[in-house]
Symmetry: C2
Subunit: 404 residues, 2 copies
């Protein structure tokens, strides 16, 4: 008699964004005349850059002729893409990453979920609180998080690192020793960042206690301030303790195009075993590559034209972020984020819970945001808005929020 | 101190096709003048069908305009694709599959590896021997297979179902009780199939002992004979015991384009829990959809034009299969497969081992095939050739093999 993975049954409710989707659909069905604006899920709205479109048309044409047709891709991804990443994302920032330390994937969500495969179930994870739900949920599925304590909204075997106004929305070194530390800067959901010196403290800490850092740098393109690290490998010693996850979703609008990559330096070892070799084995056995057409699309953003065009997209969204920040402050909200990240994190007014504010915003302003409590217990009383809407919708939404 | 997943260290050597790739690269480097033909890895060579190319160009154009741009896809995949699958792959064969029982993915390799996530580590698997290595390797990574016994080339906790000339290359019901049964028909690597009545016996058996069947139907398009089931759901009761994996790689040449799907009927339950709900949760948490462009490409093959064009591709490969079969028989080889599948399975001559024959073929005929022993202990003494080369190369390769 087969047995299911019981850990799935411990998961509380459904994935956050599925729940929001259902609530919004129900509201729209009941109110077909209302024009609902979403500043909720972190989904982009600008079309793909012209250079990306051209590259994909070319690649599609290649797939139409036997001489240029592409079958299975190389296990780690095409070299033209890995080379572009090594050069522009790393070498240009003074960091040496070899192309066989880069693994092309279908996106950072898959990678951040799948990376757990190469670790024993018997590891204690530490996460920021609030946090991108995928880190915790996928560890729960693997049986690494203990039991869910509904009253606390916490898992019994997870080290939570509160990120609140008191800590300037940055985590502090935990007082219990974790084995795997998830960090995401610029942060989703709070939009906060830490300086290179502050990140160095985490690297030093991980090296000292023998922990591995899973560093999600999906929002790197949104960094506007000096002294905020673009990659964890800018820190001394990081290659011996950190895995970095990167995405094309937010810097180039690939949410529906799907591309990402993971960096695992060969210096990262458990005894004699490199984590690079374990991930290579997983990648070669449980994945069959991102589509050739999409890898060509990704490579296009590293050209001069591509860099210019995607920088313009990022600037467009960051202008939205400024509008959201400024309008909310004007309306008396307490606001953070939105300077080095496309996320604005606000304190709910009048001690409302996150979901109360969600309902208010949906029903009275017809704006969809994301309840902070969906990201963890310390997110309660907070709310996330994203800068990924159109300029016009962002303006309209903020007018309505100001009028609440 | 973090701990790695030790199960990875039990895996013998590297993934079969990586090993072959390395051997072939080494030979080519040492013999740059030789023209090596690959009938090894199951990778297609024909360009994508015109209808697929048009659909992708259109979809790329949609991604270039804000009004038609697509961000994150629906969790299960676009409805236009799931509806086409439900209609053409199932309804047309008298099988009712609801569109929320279909999960679009980036391919059957990922699905066949990831499906293990929803099952407890404490399940005993049964596999055909020889077998597509991904089923066993991914279960080994999950800790479900016990220890690898090098001398036997077997895992201590796996039920092997020998498929040899004696069993007509079909498995017999095992004498130990498995929890999860992997079946693949038309079979990779042997190219064999079983009739609907024979498959019904497996369904009845699974229902009787409470096992789940993971049915890999990636080669369904190659079925040419009557009474060979195109989907396991043609069998009575299969919806209560079987998960079906499907691919676009072989019926439409998507090996480098990446698309597949998994069917989990809602009748498939462990107590009150539907496996459909578990897989939906995994899909929504650890995956973010196949690219919109690729889902459009997949939908195109279900149009009348698409069906005609892809049927022509399948016919082209099956003509190669006939050439391989006939030529090998002429040369005195003992051959099976190649009638309902793009794989030809031959007995190595003169009691050579599979790898000895691999080396002979590479060095003397400059043809790359796949050693049967790479697929499991009962594959020893056999060898796989694939029909996915070009017509010209297939002819050339067989001339050389005949001249050995």
């Amino acid at each position: 008699m087969y047995k299911i993975n019981d850990n799935y049954l411990k998961l509380p409710g459904s994935y956050l964004f599925s729940t929001i989707g259902k609530k919004v659909r129900a509201y729209k069905e009941a109110n077909p005349d209302k024009d609902v604006i979403s500043l909720g899920i972190g989904d982009v709205t600008l079309p793909l850059a012209p250079v990306v479109i051209s590259a994909m048309h070319e690649a599609v044409d290649e797939m139409s002729k036997a001489e240029t047709f592409k079958g299975y891709a190389p296990d780690l991804g095409y070299e033209f893409l890995r080379q572009a990443i090594a050069t522009h994302d790393y070498k240009a920032r003074g960091v040496d990453i070899a192309i066989d330390e880069i693994f092309i994937s279908d996106g950072a969500k898959s990678d951040s979920g799948n990376i757990g495969d190469i670790f024993s179930v018997d590891n204690k994870i530490a996460v920021c609180d609030p946090v991108y739900p995928v880190y915790v949920d996928t560890n729960a599925m693997a049986g690494r998080t203990g039991d869910y304590i509904r009253e606390a909204g916490e898992w019994s075997n997870v080290i939570y690192m509160p990120c609140t106004a008191e800590t300037n929305f940055a985590p502090e070194l935990p007082n219990k020793e974790p084995d795997i530390i998830y960090l995401c800067f610029p942060n989703n959901p709070t939009g906060s960042t830490i300086t290179k010196d502050e990140l160095q403290k985490w690297v030093d800490y991980a090296l000292k206690i023998g922990a591995v850092i899973i560093y999600d740098a999906a929002y790197e393109a949104y960094i506007s301030e000096e002294n905020v690290p673009h990659t964890i490998y800018e820190c001394e010693g990081a290659k011996a303790c950190a895995i970095e996850l990167r995405s094309f979703s937010k810097n180039a609008g690939f949410t529906g195009t799907r591309l990402g990559f993971t960096v695992i330096p060969k210096e990262l070892k458990s005894g004699e075993v490199t984590l690079n070799s374990l991930w290579a084995r997983r990648h070669g056995t449980k994945f069959n590559g991102a589509p050739y057409i999409i890898q060509r699309a990704g490579a296009a953003i590293y050209t001069d034209e591509g860099k210019m065009q995607t920088a313009k997209q990022v600037a467009y969204y960051m202008n939205n972020a400024k509008i959201i920040r400024d309008s909310l402050k004007e309306a008396g909200y307490s606001v953070s984020g939105g300077v080095n990240a496309p996320y604005i994190w606000l304190k709910t007014p009048k001690n409302m819970t996150s979901w109360e504010f969600f309902d208010l915003l949906l029903e009275k302003a017809n704006v969809v945001g994301t309840p902070g409590s969906g990201f963890g217990p310390s997110g309660e009383g907070y709310f996330r808005l994203t800068a990924f809407g159109s300029y016009e919708n962002t303006l309209k939404a903020l007018e309505k929020i100001k009028a609440l």
